[in-house]
Symmetry: C2
Subunit: 310 residues, 2 copies
């Protein structure tokens, strides 16, 4: 084994996506994207070995660090949850460590909290992005910030003086996909029409302010039937109604926050930024991959071997 | 053709169910249940002929009256909507009439209204049950009543002095089915457990009072993961959360109503009656088939050739 082939593997293995990075001397030199942990159907170890197969042919990694649903009960090896409030050191110490083919593996802990209403809440993967964001930007570790992580199960996390003090999960992304693709309220458009979707989004956001989300859902259908709205409009309307409702439900968190940060997918973050903007709030957007890598221990900005850094 | 074979056919052809009744001398002497208009895939006429095939072999009916999605754009023949406020005479006059194989057919009109927020709303089939309920019970035609018709697309209709003045549709039933069967929030239980479902329903109803439906959805998952709730519990919780949210959204309608009536499926009506009961409200339940038949012009109580009348 020559020195140049020494590498570690870090990554986020979520419900719907696997993102692995090959890291050499602190820099990302390759990445592998694949299906989520659900697709592994209980064979996570074999799926992981297959995913890094080309790298393994050259040499074994020096270490492996993973976050996300890899640590869920149905994942690779179950990792614990660290209870909120949690700081980075407590969270890192809670990782599950074991050896795989002689290589040290760390699967990062998730976070758990109890809401003000007594209901439990959990996250796996987003905590790595949150701690990564704090590592990258010390401003986030001071005062009281609200971090929004849009996705299938959106997280709204309160960070205070370097600790994640609480968070709230809303399955808005999952609900939206069900309504758009599998309900009588969504409509299949012949081709995407961003302008009509944007109009629907704006109308959905406005409707959300009435505070009657269930009553407002059916308009996705009747506005097509009776008010001439095109099919493309409905997906935008449903998205605006749900995101607007979600933001109204976190009004207490918004009022108490010194600043607001968005971590994740660019397109979704843009929609949330727009919805927050309607309430006069400015959110700063952070790149999701960069935050994951920082949370997994890589300092600085990631190197993108294929494509421009964003 | 002898006198005894003279019969008419009335029925409700909805999205998911076809219910046809053979009526002789004002009494139901047979019924046919089949799939909804969606299953006919644009071949409604042929599907109808097949459904009443055994009766046709004997003789042609003297007339046919249908309500529901048979009159939708993708149904048999499109019927108009009567605009609210609408009384029974206006609504009956709006039916679409034509001849099929020489037999006079009437497809009843739907109802349309515009909500206080300017959004259009529509129903097809439920209006027949509402006008039928008024025909059966004159008390319903006086003062201001609120009629709840639980189903895939629940209707909350205000009836004043014999007219349907407005209504609101909530696709609660469709949303519940999506969440229970197709989301990560529902859970498949090995076998139904009514007691655990009832406990989940009660907890969901209580949670709905917090007024944060999106935030409360994820607990269907985390209460199983972290608080020992069994899989059976989750369906009850989702149902209670959605129905409780729905009832909170019609608080204005509840306050203004002199009385509340429930029309439809017995099991669903029981859940709505329980949820309304938590708010100190008493709802009177009416049989859905009996109301449909009365709305289609049959007086008195229907005769059930198979099974006890309910």
């Amino acid at each position: 084994m020559n020195l140049m082939s020494r590498y570690e593997v870090v990554g986020d293995w979520g419900t719907s996506r696997l993102r692995l990075f090959r890291v050499e001397q602190g820099r990302v030199t390759a990445r592998h994207d694949g299906p989520g942990i659900g697709a592994a159907a209980g064979q996570a170890e074999a799926a992981f070995a297959a995913a890094i197969g080309p790298w393994l042919e050259e040499a074994a990694p020096t270490q492996i660090r993973l976050c996300g649903m890899a640590g869920a009960r149905d994942g690779w090896v179950e990792a614990p949850y660290a209870d909120c409030p949690a700081d980075a050191a407590t969270w890192r110490a809670a990782a599950t460590r074991f050896a795989w083919r002689g290589v040290p593996v760390a699967i990062m802990a998730g976070l758990a909290c109890t809401g003000a209403n007594g209901a439990p809440d959990v996250m796996r993967g987003e905590e790595t992005q949150i701690f990564g964001a704090m590592a990258r930007d010390p401003a986030l570790g001071q005062g009281r910030s609200l971090i929004v992580l849009p996705g299938t199960h959106n997280k709204w996390a309160v960070v205070q003086d370097g600790r994640v003090s609480s968070f709230r999960t809303m399955p808005t992304g999952e609900l939206f996909a069900l309504l758009r693709d599998r309900s009588t309220l969504g409509a299949q458009a012949d081709r995407p029409d961003p302008a009509r979707e944007a109009q629907g989004f704006a109308e959905g956001l406005a409707r959300a302010q009435e505070g009657r989300p269930l009553s407002s859902l059916f308009a996705a259908r009747t506005m097509r039937l009776r008010a001439g709205r095109p099919a493309e409009w409905a997906a935008g309307y449903l998205s605006g109604l749900l995101i607007g409702t979600e933001i109204a439900e976190v009004a207490d968190m918004l009022e108490q926050a010194d600043d607001i940060w968005l971590i994740g997918d660019g397109r979704l973050s843009t929609l949330y930024a727009e919805a927050l903007g309607r309430r006069g709030l400015v959110a700063q957007a952070l790149d999701g991959d960069a935050c994951s890598l920082a949370g997994l221990g890589l300092s600085g900005h990631p190197h993108h071997p294929h494509g421009d850094p964003s």
